[in-house]
């Protein structure tokens, strides 16, 4: 698994270096993710050590958000002041977006299917 962990760290490192050097606004780890995706596409597959390292990182993924998430205690002010705006945006915004995305994709899919007939 060590090889897999090294691969993940090296791709993150490369991503961060590219972001710094080219002054990109994209976060380094995301560039690393895209690089790894291309690496896998070129290599036409993963290997066990990488599979294990990925599983290790993604199995407890939500755990990794906890440190950042706890910063919420410093934002109580914003949350109480803008509670209803936040509530409406999160609740209705999410439902409207879900319906829009699903219906839009449905529409496009039936058009593609019609063309094939």
């Amino acid at each position: 698994m060590l090889k897999g962990i090294i691969v993940l760290l090296v791709f993150q490192f490369l991503g961060e270096c590219i972001a710094k050097f080219f002054e990109l606004l994209v976060p380094g780890p995301v560039i690393g993710m895209v690089l790894l995706l291309f690496f896998l596409l070129i290599r036409k597959g993963s290997f066990i050590s990488l599979d294990n390292a990925v599983a290790l990182h993604l199995r407890y993924l939500p755990l990794l958000f906890i440190p950042a998430a706890m910063g919420i205690i410093t934002q109580i002010d914003i949350i109480t002041k803008e509670f209803w705006a936040i509530f409406i945006a999160l609740f209705f915004g999410t439902l409207i977006a879900l319906v829009f995305a699903a219906k839009f994709m449905d529409f496009l899919t039936s058009r593609v299917n019609k063309d094939e007939l």
Partner: protein, 237 residues
């Protein structure tokens, strides 16, 4: 026996909060599994409540807590890179519906951000909240690093991401029924696009293909949001 030395150690070592954080999350997993993985009982929500209560009760500052558990935060980087593998495995589905996937990804992806921030604006929210809302539909690790990039508040961003995931997972299938969504692939893609990982977990209950499309949507929207959002925001600033 040196009582003072002991309390000094307990209050200064990072181990204390590290153990509490890991144990709270483990407890979250146990409770989540006991209640048949109910969406509202996400392990992180349970951990959230436990840790937050302890932080408030012990009067610990966020800075001190964060420093103690910074090692956990560090792993967001490699975990983001790791997301390439599930995306790679689901990338083969892109060929089957290439145009619907690409158009929905961009148009519905932008729509999802615009509708949320418009609602915030109409109801009088301020800029930090609006910025933190822009990453609400992408997977949390990418949302955290992107929100840091655009000058939003990462903790608000994570909170918004989690609630967006839960709302989508709880009500997604109901609204799909009301609005007569036809294809499983559309349902899955919409769930992954809007409600990221939590939506993807829900899509598994629709079908395996829906889950694959959800994972595909989640991976692609994470990448494209992280690429374009910082550019758009610097342009407007």
């Amino acid at each position: 026996m040196n009582y003072e030395a002991l309390t000094n150690y307990i209050s200064s070592t990072p181990l204390t909060w590290l153990i509490i954080t890991l144990a709270a999350f483990k407890l979250g997993i146990i409770i989540y599994e006991k209640f048949n993985k109910h969406t509202l009982l996400q392990p992180i929500i349970i951990a959230y409540v436990i840790i937050l209560s302890l932080i408030v009760y012990t009067n610990t500052s966020f800075e001190k807590y964060f420093k103690s558990v910074e090692i956990i935060h560090f792993f967001l980087g490699p975990a983001t890179v790791a997301l390439a593998l599930p995306l790679y495995k689901n990338l083969k589905y892109i060929k089957s519906l290439f145009l619907p996937i690409v158009l929905t990804l961009f148009i519905a992806g932008v729509f999802s951000i615009v509708i949320a921030i418009s609602l915030l604006y109409i109801f009088g929210a301020h800029l930090p909240t609006i910025l933190s809302m822009t990453t609400k539909s992408i997977t949390a690790p990418i949302a955290i690093i992107t929100s840091e990039q655009i000058g939003a508040i990462p903790s608000l961003a994570v909170g918004f991401v989690l609630i967006t995931g839960i709302v989508g997972a709880l009500f997604g299938t109901i609204v799909f029924k009301i609005f007569k969504v036809k294809y499983e692939t559309s349902k899955g893609f919409a769930l992954g696009l809007v409600s990221h990982g939590i939506g993807t977990a829900r899509a598994i209950e629709i079908s395996e293909k829906a889950a694959a499309f959800a994972a595909l949507a989640m991976g692609l929207s994470g990448i494209f949001t992280a690429i374009f959002l910082p550019m758009v925001i610097t342009f407007f600033k």
